[in-house]
Symmetry: C2
Subunit: 340 residues, 2 copies
């Protein structure tokens, strides 16, 4: 059993913690919290061990939350620490993990140089094998890489031009905007996503442009991929259809927006309506000469969760990437094929 | 004086009517209304002649709105009729205009075969000269064409790949959505905008993809233009900077979104915060090899208004397109250069 500690119990951390408990080869040491908010109560209710800094022991006790121990005690027990602290905080914790000789995963909000490898299970599982520090790329980059590494098997990628329509805030965030505005973010081109894709597919000619829209549910990507040969629409569809963690949705099912996709996830009984899978609008898949076009939606809160699970196995020395993905997918009910 | 009648006094019609009254060479016969709503009261308050169908004379009288006459009487007095009726209704009216031997402009919501020419002042003013029926392309297509015909002067366009992030509804619309969803619209690729651009730039290789976002203020376009030669960023910026009806906005001014652009229009004292100009995010203008990238915002309610004015002159036989644009721009306070 791989002993996993999750440092930070917010949007990503709480999902990774749940996912760890579902794996047959992992056990969850516990999770850390910085403040006794509703998520801390939920963790307690779920029976998880909660660890805090020395400074905040009293605050949590006063709030009626039972503490298992301090952060250092949690780290000490773990084989792998999943750092799910806010952007930039992970880099500060790296010194702690390093001094204790622990393996750790970081999230995509950290700079890529925080780790030895940036990770996307379908693209470069092997590169993360046995490494001490691995960074799981962000939700948008995970979406891009999952698509690109799949289509690259149909025909070698020559050039990628992508627009990212970013969700403005997560559903739980009340202090972020916009509520009635489109915000180029950044206004400069390329956005950082292209550079982030290049941390995994090193020499790809990719330009990304991003704009924030007032919605909380999912990102939408619109891709124009130039391939090294002419392929058919069916070739692309088959590749997407047969790749785990990618779902297709047809216009015939009347699911034509992120709101309807999330409604399906709710109807499916998914925890927190999570969609670990990329959801491709089937009707958008088109081919013109050696260019392929498609649009898909990315559930920003959950798409990186299975990637974290696979990265835990990779740093622990589990050699078979495809087998790891299969175990993760089975444990979490992650599918391929059609959403509906 | 060119005598102009405006059939339909909604979002476009009311703006065209105002713009006509500002022109030194045009007079407004009047406007038509189908229901005595708030816009009818505003028209009366503005002292415009209001014409209605025979059927609705009584309804308007009962609502306290003074009627000048019937639609036929308005059409009869006009040299040019600007049809600003809802999508598809213009095609029905065409028979009336035709039987009376009147010249008429249609809006972009009509199919292109409603008219002899689809029109964008900067691109093809001359083609509309003296024609009986001209269609002013839609707001999105106007935005695309204004950009493309400008950049085409720097280097010949070879290929255009565009993403259109569409506003969901106009500010006054209370029955349209979405409010928290991204909707590929259409999910298929290309969107109709590419075909519409091809009604003016006939042989251009263009693919457009469109997604609706929950916002009411402006559309945003993200363009990737392949040119027939390498050009510099400065070449592109200079062309944009020196073209009337295009404004640039720099990140330095802290205007980085559609909400801030509209706030500037309000501060400028623009009627209804209208922005007849395309607004280009200067920081987005970039060049990579022979590709140019840029992002800009399109004010859906007003960008076609000056185009309608120029089209009125074109069908009336006024030969100098540039001069027409200059007269229109001066009369309406339409600028070039920086927004701020």
């Amino acid at each position: 059993m791989i002993k996993v500690a999750v440092n930070g119990y917010g949007t990503i951390g709480k999902r990774v913690a749940s996912a760890v408990t579902l794996q047959p080869d992992m056990s969850l040491i516990g999770v850390s919290k910085t403040s006794p908010n509703f998520e801390a109560y939920q963790a307690q209710k779920a029976g998880l061990n909660i660890y805090v800094t020395n400074d905040s022991l009293k605050e949590f006790e006063e709030a009626g939350i039972k503490i298992k121990g301090t952060l250092d005690e949690m780290f000490k027990e773990a084989d792998v620490i999943v750092d799910a602290t806010p952007n930039g905080v992970g880099a500060q914790y790296k010194q702690v993990y390093s001094s204790m000789g622990k393996k750790a995963l970081f999230q995509g909000g950290e700079k890529s140089n925080v780790a030895e490898v940036s990770f996307s299970a379908l693209c470069n599982y092997d590169e993360a094998l046995g490494k001490q520090f691995v960074r799981v790329v962000s939700c948008n980059t995970t979406g891009l890489l999952r698509t690109l590494c799949t289509i690259n098997k149909v025909s070698r990628l020559q050039k990628v031009r992508a627009t990212i329509v970013r969700r403005a805030a997560d559903p739980k965030e009340t202090k972020k905007g916009p509520i009635n505005s489109l915000v180029p973010d950044p206004a400069s081109i390329p956005s950082h996503h292209a550079k982030d894709v290049n941390t995994v597919i090193k020499d790809l000619d990719i330009v990304t442009m991003a704009v924030v829209a007032p919605t909380t549910l999912m990102h939408v990507h619109l891709l124009d991929i130039t391939l090294s040969s002419q392929v058919s629409r069916e070739d692309i569809l088959n590749a997407l259809m047969n790749t785990p963690r990618i779902l297709l949705v047809s216009g015939k099912s009347k699911v034509g927006s992120t709101a309807e996709i999330i409604e399906v996830a709710r109807d499916m009984g998914r925890n927190r309506n999570d969609l670990y899978e990329l959801v491709v609008f089937e009707d958008s898949v088109s081919v013109k000469g050696n260019e392929a076009f498609l649009m898909y939606a990315v559930h920003q809160e959950s798409i990186v969760v299975p990637e974290n699970i696979d990265a835990i196995r990779a740093v622990s020395g589990f050699k078979e990437g495809l087998k790891s993905m299969e175990v993760t997918n089975t444990a979490m009910g992650i599918r391929k094929g059609y959403l509906v």
